[in-house]
Subunit: 250 residues, 2 copies
């Protein structure tokens, strides 16, 4: 794990860029921790959506909330072909999306993404201010395509937020195969008028999730219109499972 | 409005039984208020499900939470043929349910239920410790069958929690007709494995709700298995709309 760039301190949050190596791939990430943190704490992995990157607004906002309000650590990495892994940084969004569809169609894309995350988890948990505390995952859309197999492969993940995805696309068979093995509590976020992901395919995926403890939250609007209340609920939901308090009802 | 029975004080909540008259019907209810309350405050109407009554566990629990945590008033009434309105207090649940199905089939059942609630609203808001503050509604299953037309007829209702219902049964046309006129923010609670209400009919009803601000929360399990987290969310949701605070998002 190499630190790259400066350490930023923003309103009670330390942000550090890093690169980890995973199977020959160099994976850039950002780690968010409380200032002067010492010892093990809950860590939330945040997976961004297609065409986005590790510092996209909703990733950074959720990460800072988890650090500030709960004292957790949070980490995001760029997906293959995204952010610092774009083959050409000047590519427009449609080119990045087209590259994502190509990557999604590659048989090994899921295993590589899971490998990127596992290398990140190992590297970050070796840090003294993160340590081997409880692990959670948050990722919608592409963050669910690769996060669901990750959460199944990685039993250290104790709670997950998925959504904006159904049993569609090149890895639908892999998702359908993995979903019944999922065991951790899940919040599944749906956009009721999602024009990218057919409603029935979303219900199929939610149905298939093996977790006994799961809930689906649907809001009006298209794929990218997830309302802020679901981010607020996400943070509460992750916190309730990763650092249960005496007042938590579930 | 006549007070009946004793005033109970339970852990920071005053509970008072009353009867109101509505179109010749005598309607028993319970009012929950903070001790020593003075002046207008938000009031939440709580509609119970079929075979239940105004003091059923989840009604009382929600009412007390709204009073204790938020200083609101809450009120519940017995539906026709339920609780203090049972023709024979010794009837078993199946008889009460059968009577409900008969009542549900009666053309005027919705208008009478709406009338019962409007008489209750007027009587309770005339009290100095309730007053004419903002109004909310919470009711699942039978509480939605009659609560949805109430919320459409009664523009003073600013926020509503519905659920466990679809476009089914004798009043499905009335619900389908009223739903598009609903304008207030809505939380809609669904049980994913509801064996009473077909899933598609639930989605049809949620789809039909005219409110721009609506969300559907689905949890595993059958009709009556609504998890406590949805009651916790209900109270927060009602509070956020009836007494917005500086930290409320969305």
């Amino acid at each position: 794990m190499d630190w790259t760039g400066d350490t930023h301190r923003v309103d009670g949050v330390v942000e550090r860029d890093f690169v980890v190596e995973a199977g020959g791939r160099r994976v850039p990430g950002v780690l968010w921790t409380p200032p002067d943190a010492e010892g093990a704490r809950p860590l939330v992995l945040i997976g961004h959506g297609a065409t986005a990157h590790k510092r996209i607004g909703y990733v950074t906002t959720l990460a800072r909330e988890l650090v500030r309000a709960h004292g957790f650590a949070a980490v995001a990495i760029d997906g293959a072909g995204h952010g610092g892994r774009r083959p050409n940084p000047d590519d427009d969004e449609m080119t990045v999306f087209s590259d994502f569809l190509t990557e999604w169609s590659r048989d090994e894309s899921t295993d590589d993404a899971v490998g990127d995350w596992r290398a990140t988890i190992d590297a970050v948990r070796a840090l003294p201010d993160v340590g081997d505390g409880p692990l959670g995952y948050w990722g919608l859309s592409m963050g669910t395509i690769y996060g669901l197999p990750l959460a199944v492969a990685e039993p250290r993940i104790q709670v997950a937020v998925f959504g904006l995805m159904g049993l569609v696309g090149p890895t639908r068979f892999r998702m359908a195969e993995d979903a019944p093995s999922l065991a951790c509590p899940v919040l599944f976020i749906q956009q009721w008028d999602d024009s990218l992901i057919p409603r029935d395919s979303i219900f199929e995926l939610f149905d298939a999730l093996g977790s006994r403890d799961k809930r689906l939250h649907a809001s009006p609007g298209d794929h990218a219109a997830v309302p802020s209340e679901e981010f607020v609920f996400s943070a509460r939901f992750l916190a309730r499972h990763l650092a249960p308090g005496p007042d938590d009802l579930s």
